[in-house]
Symmetry: C2
Subunit: 426 residues, 2 copies
């Protein structure tokens, strides 16, 4: 089968070289030779550490879908719009199989793309878009196909997990930890999407659709990142017996699905709390199999290529599947619910002026909004002029906490934006 590789960044380059080197092994495993017909990239003239024969170069990648001999297009450009979007839509419309690592594109246009793929009986594969080398999509679509999934969650972003782990282990402040991550290649020069929860949100939306046989829901999702977490929070969490992790959670509660991405305090002896560095882990709770855990490298050229090749082999073997487990016609417009009425126990940190009567005022605000306190610790700050009040609450509705925070923010004795981190029993 004839393949066109579009995009030659880190992943594209690794993939091209892997495929060239392992053609025979893949033939042994699939009985089909994956032949690289063309390669396309923005900059042909760019200096590369490997040579690509001239005859392989396709100047305009958007011609690829029109070429009769082309069977499979590997899209490694990235981004939800522009050339990547055009290429993938055109490819599927022209009955070419598509393998992509583009989570932004799939989480935005996955439903439309799946419909075209299904109509034209071609594959749309995107294992590499979620958690690098972890075969989570294949596991949901095939390994766990018998199961009714009630919850899927985990650590879905290596960059933010690296930063939180190193803030904890090396006692670093957020900024220093981020700088280290960038120096080590674990964070991009513009790491916004990794740190504000967007990257996790894209992955979670895809996993939600796959797990609950629903369409992708871009509206009903809570997304919070890790930017406001500082060393004091990490330290407080440790004292309380927790680690702070950025989690993505999708769960079905009374037939309504809640999607949420936010930092969470997790008991330090739990499995998730021990996933450190750039590792990713996904946990699926389903019936009849129970709890399944998949852990592995969540990013990088090698792991991503592992997933791309897995998808490619699935296409080579002729294993045509519905891109989102079931047919477009059978997918549900499942009911989604915001996080408002979900109950949490939370960690609050209020940095306040150390004056008389403040504690009484804070507890009054909380009581008024039906939030009750489970544990309270007051600590003087280093200069002893101010104090940090750390509160662990009993369970209360998310919306109640929003009211508490809105109210507290107006108080003159509050000197920094209050910290609010949900406690997650996972």
């Amino acid at each position: 089968m004839n393949i066109v590789i579009v995009g030659l960044g880190n992943i594209g380059s690794y993939f091209y070289n892997y495929l060239k080197k392992n053609k025979k092994i893949l033939f042994n495993k699939t009985n089909i030779i994956p032949n690289i017909l063309y390669v396309s990239a923005k900059s042909i003239s760019k200096k590369r550490s490997f040579k690509i024969p001239k005859k392989l170069w396709l100047k305009n990648c958007l011609l690829a879908p029109k070429i009769k001999e082309v069977d499979i297009i590997i899209e490694l450009i990235g981004g939800a719009e522009g050339v990547a979007k055009k290429l993938v839509f055109e490819s599927l419309k022209n009955k070419k199989h598509v393998v992509t690592a583009n989570k932004a594109l799939i989480s935005k246009y996955g439903d439309q793309l799946a419909k075209i793929a299904e109509k034209n009986k071609v594959n749309l594969e995107f294992e590499a878009a979620v958690c690098g080398g972890i075969p989570i999509i294949r596991s949901i679509k095939e390994g766990l196909i018998a199961n009714n999934i009630s919850k899927i969650y985990g650590i879905l972003n290596g960059t933010s997990n690296y930063i939180l782990s190193s803030m904890d282990k090396d006692k670093l402040e957020y900024k220093d930890s981020l700088r280290n991550a960038q120096a080590l290649g674990y964070a991009e020069s513009n790491p916004t999407a990794d740190l504000n929860g967007e990257d996790v949100a894209s992955k979670l939306k895809i996993l939600t659709a796959l797990s609950f046989n629903s369409f992708i829901n871009n509206k009903s999702i809570l997304v919070e990142g890790i930017k406001n977490i500082d060393q004091a929070d990490i330290n407080n969490a440790n004292q309380l017996g927790y680690k702070i992790k950025l989690v993505g959670v999708a769960e079905s509660v009374r037939n309504k699905i809640i999607q949420r991405v936010h930092p969470a305090l997790i008991k330090n002896n739990s499995y998730i709390a021990k996933i450190n560095g750039v590792l990713n882990a996904v946990i699926v709770e389903s019936n009849p199999v129970g709890q399944s855990v998949l852990q592995g490298e969540g990013a990088g050229s090698g792991p991503t290529t592992s997933s791309l090749i897995s998808d490619l082999c699935s296409v080579l073997r002729g294993n045509i599947k519905f891109p989102f487990v079931i047919s477009d016609k059978k997918r549900k417009s499942a009911l989604f619910e915001s996080v408002d009425s979900k109950k949490f126990s939370v960690y609050l940190r209020l940095d306040v002026k150390d004056k008389h009567g403040i504690l009484s005022d804070i507890t009054k605000v909380m009581a008024k909004n039906k939030v009750s306190i489970k544990r309270l610790i007051q600590k003087p700050t280093v200069n002893k002029k101010n104090a940090s009040i750390i509160i662990v609450t009993h369970y209360a509705k998310n919306s109640s906490f929003v009211k508490v925070l809105t109210s507290l923010k107006t108080k003159k004795y509050i000197i920094n934006t209050p910290k609010f981190i949900r406690i997650e029993k996972i």
Copy 2:
């Protein structure tokens, strides 16, 4: 497609009811209706909690392969010989797809069966034979297909893991823990294969063949069970910072494969040490993806059915694969090596008469066989007449330890069979 279910024990019954109830859902996922054409079991008249229509009963299951309308045979009888063997061989010979949970059969006759399946272009699927609900076989064959696997290991038996965990947690002796496991349904009335390592060995041999593209090797494998481990060992391990686990390990060392099943001391803060109860976990080390971990329920009707259905759907979708990743013709007679020359650091426990000169004699035996001591603890036994000598050694060849043990066993001051448990850095 028409299905015959053969065997109606716990798993067969669960599978039958699951399939009846979820026919439509599976149709939505595969576009094919899985129709139960016949059901067969040793005892038709046995009282069951569910009813099977008379017209579904097939008295002699060995007729199934000859029936033209039959497409898929689900073998849930068990055992490497007898009816199960006959049924599976005949089914494949008659071009019927086979889905089985029979690890004894696959680990013994898998190579021959795969050859027939491949020749006749039908599926031979056995996800349910290894680690219940964990999709490890699908992950090796599909999700991790791009990877060159160098090591695969883990906790592959829930019964023995439950017993070891409960000996540790509840401070029970082996016999009491086994009795509890039987009462809870975690151990069979005849648990021999689970406890002597045989069950793990069957699974490991299958995983080895899949991971290293080799034929199944029944000769070169070390198999030791957990029967000799007692509370004192568990306690000593804890004092040294370890947990005792029954592990299965297959690894390629200088292009030779070593297969081994044995109890091991594992650092108590490692991932594997924390897999408790009936859970299973498999860890795959491969390139380019790095380390992948899969964890889940290793046994039981629900998890096993999850795997059976996953295999069934793969057949329904027409996803014909080589049973052992690559074609029979391309599989290697890989070089296997015994554990003799592999080096380990080990834990030794010698119960001795508390007399002068014994320690000097023991150390002499060890030095003669090139085993050196890293740590030695001598403890009086409860009655204070005897002593327990606990030794942690430096790395030495497995064969050296065999010599040390052979020599020590002849000594009159040794009052119990010396305990010997390898320390594993995983």
